[in-house]
């Protein structure tokens, strides 16, 4: 009796897992074989854009509205594809679900501080880069830390499992790394003095430094020690859509809407808009 019940339990478990796995696959291929990628989707007047919800200046959700540089870029893309602003559905993504969301078709494009790298290129297509970020340090205004070399013996904070955290562990072993599950906790700890610096992409740090409650307390060191080109993620096989987005970005660079997107969001802290390097917009595979 006992044995048969055990066997039944295990059997049921295996089946549940198998069904779950199949479900995932079906969804992936099912929506992937739809009409011609992003352009086909856009012709229906709707677009689902995956963005970050917790990064001030880039993608920040307050209530049901989103605001930030990534959001503005998303609006530019939607406009270029002929989708009205009312047809955009914003969807919150976190770093670890961006690839599955694209593959399963839960979002059409991802504009979410999405660094282009080779592993990710294997599963998604990247348009852009629309911005070149770099890892930097956020420190209290009075701090003497001038760059990553000065971190030896100091406590530095980043998000657990993120690329910046990993870089500190491998390249700057003398620094003591504190990890949290969000940058806002890091910034709280920085304000409280439990850590000496917060590290991630300069653009994200600038967003936190520009928040009202921290005005004048923190500064970005301004010596980036990595290159993080931000891309726009979409389905792997959608080369046409990828090229289309690059064309839209090119147009945005010339007609001033890219600069306006910057000035309306991150530019508020006084940083001049970067030049969009249109020559580099050739990442489509």
């Amino acid at each position: 009796m006992r044995i048969t019940r055990l066997a039944a339990t295990l059997g049921a478990l295996t089946m549940a897992l198998a069904v779950a796995a199949c479900g995932g696959d079906d969804e992936g291929t099912g929506s992937g074989s739809g009409a011609s990628g992003i352009e086909g989707k856009a012709s229906s007047g709707k677009l689902v854009i995956g963005v970050k919800a917790d990064q001030p200046g880039l993608g920040l959700q307050t209530g049901s509205t989103y605001a930030g540089f990534d959001i503005e870029i998303g609006k530019i893309i939607a406009k270029g594809l002929g989708v009205p602003e009312s047809g955009i559905e914003w969807k919150t993504t976190v770093s670890s679900n961006r690839e599955p969301y694209i593959q399963q078709g839960q979002v059409d494009v991802v504009v979410a501080t999405y660094t282009i790298n080779d592993e990710r290129k294997k599963v998604v297509n990247f348009a852009g880069p629309y911005y070149k970020a770099g890892q930097d340090l956020l420190v209290p205004t009075a701090s003497t830390i001038t760059g990553p070399e000065a971190l030896a013996g100091r406590r530095v904070c980043s998000v657990s499992g993120s690329t910046p955290a990993k870089r500190i562990q491998t390249d700057y072993k003398d620094a003591k790394l504190q990890q949290f599950d969000s940058y806002s906790k890091c910034v709280t700890a920085l304000a409280g003095g439990q850590v000496d610096a917060v590290t991630t992409d300069d653009i994200i740090l600038a967003g936190y430094a520009a928040q009202d409650q921290y005005a004048g307390k923190f500064k970005v060191v301004g010596k980036p020690f990595s290159e993080e080109p931000y891309g726009i993620g979409l389905k792997k096989d959608d080369t046409a859509g990828c090229n289309k987005i690059n064309d839209i970005l090119k147009a945005a660079a010339t007609d001033g809407s890219y600069k306006k997107a910057w000035d309306d969001t991150l530019g508020k802290s006084g940083t001049a808009a970067p030049e969009l390097d249109t020559a580099a917009l050739s990442n489509c595979s």
Partner: protein
């Protein structure tokens, strides 16, 4: 699964589950000790102690563990300056142990108390009749019988505790869920295999744990 053939990634995976193991062991011991003391308080004849035990259970059982862990870092450490170790990881580990212990102790206390209710009142009366004090009655007569009656629920609590320890990742320990996030972040092309390996490891360890506790409960049950 070539993600896990890379020794660096395997290291992240192993370290993650070692932290879980350590948190479960330390948290389990802490919760058991605290829980037994709380249960003793809740059945004691002194009203202040009874009130304290009841308050503890009601407060910690009804507060999300995330908040408790968050408070351990930003309340105990940041604001009150309770530093438990110089090393960042060890400090976070012990703060996490405090958090999961006080939380789980509330559940252990209630399990033990329900066990105490299974001991026939005659046992306590007989102990009193031969002149034992309250503490003697509790530790020599009641608790040994009560403990053996609640092995199975304590097992469930231990399993829940083991999974709950992943929340300590929110204050920076690279336990399994943070390790999984890191691997997914670096290997965006292998999200589902990575997820299945981590979920599978938990199931692989915890399912036998559940059966072991069921077996123990049968063996140790007080035959009446």
């Amino acid at each position: 699964m070539d993600v896990f053939s890379d020794p660096l990634n395997r290291d992240v995976y192993i370290t993650g589950f070692l932290w879980i193991l350590k948190l479960t062991l330390a948290g389990g011991v802490g919760a058991l000790v605290l829980g037994v003391v709380l249960a003793a308080m809740r059945v004691s004849p002194i009203p202040v102690l009874r009130g304290f035990g009841t308050a503890w259970v009601n407060i910690f059982r009804n507060t999300p563990l995330t908040l408790i862990i968050f408070f351990c870092y930003f309340g105990l450490f940041s604001t009150l300056g309770l530093s438990l170790a110089d090393d960042i990881d060890l400090n976070n580990f012990w703060l996490g142990v405090i958090g999961v212990s006080v939380y789980t102790a509330a559940f252990v206390c209630e399990a033990i108390r329900s066990g105490i209710n299974t001991v026939p009142p005659g046992q306590a009366e007989a102990a009193r009749a031969i002149g034992m004090t309250f503490l003697q009655t509790l530790t020599i007569v009641i608790l040994p019988q009560a403990g053996r009656a609640v092995i199975a629920p304590l097992g469930s609590i231990l399993i829940a505790l083991c999974k709950n320890t992943t929340i300590v990742g929110t204050i920076g320990l690279m336990e399994s869920s943070s390790a999984m996030k890191q691997l997914i972040n670096e290997n965006g092309d292998n999200v589902i295999p990575i997820f299945l390996v981590f979920a599978g490891t938990f199931a692989l360890v915890l399912i036998p744990t559940g059966y072991a506790f069921g077996w123990l409960a049968n063996r140790l049950a007080v035959k009446r």
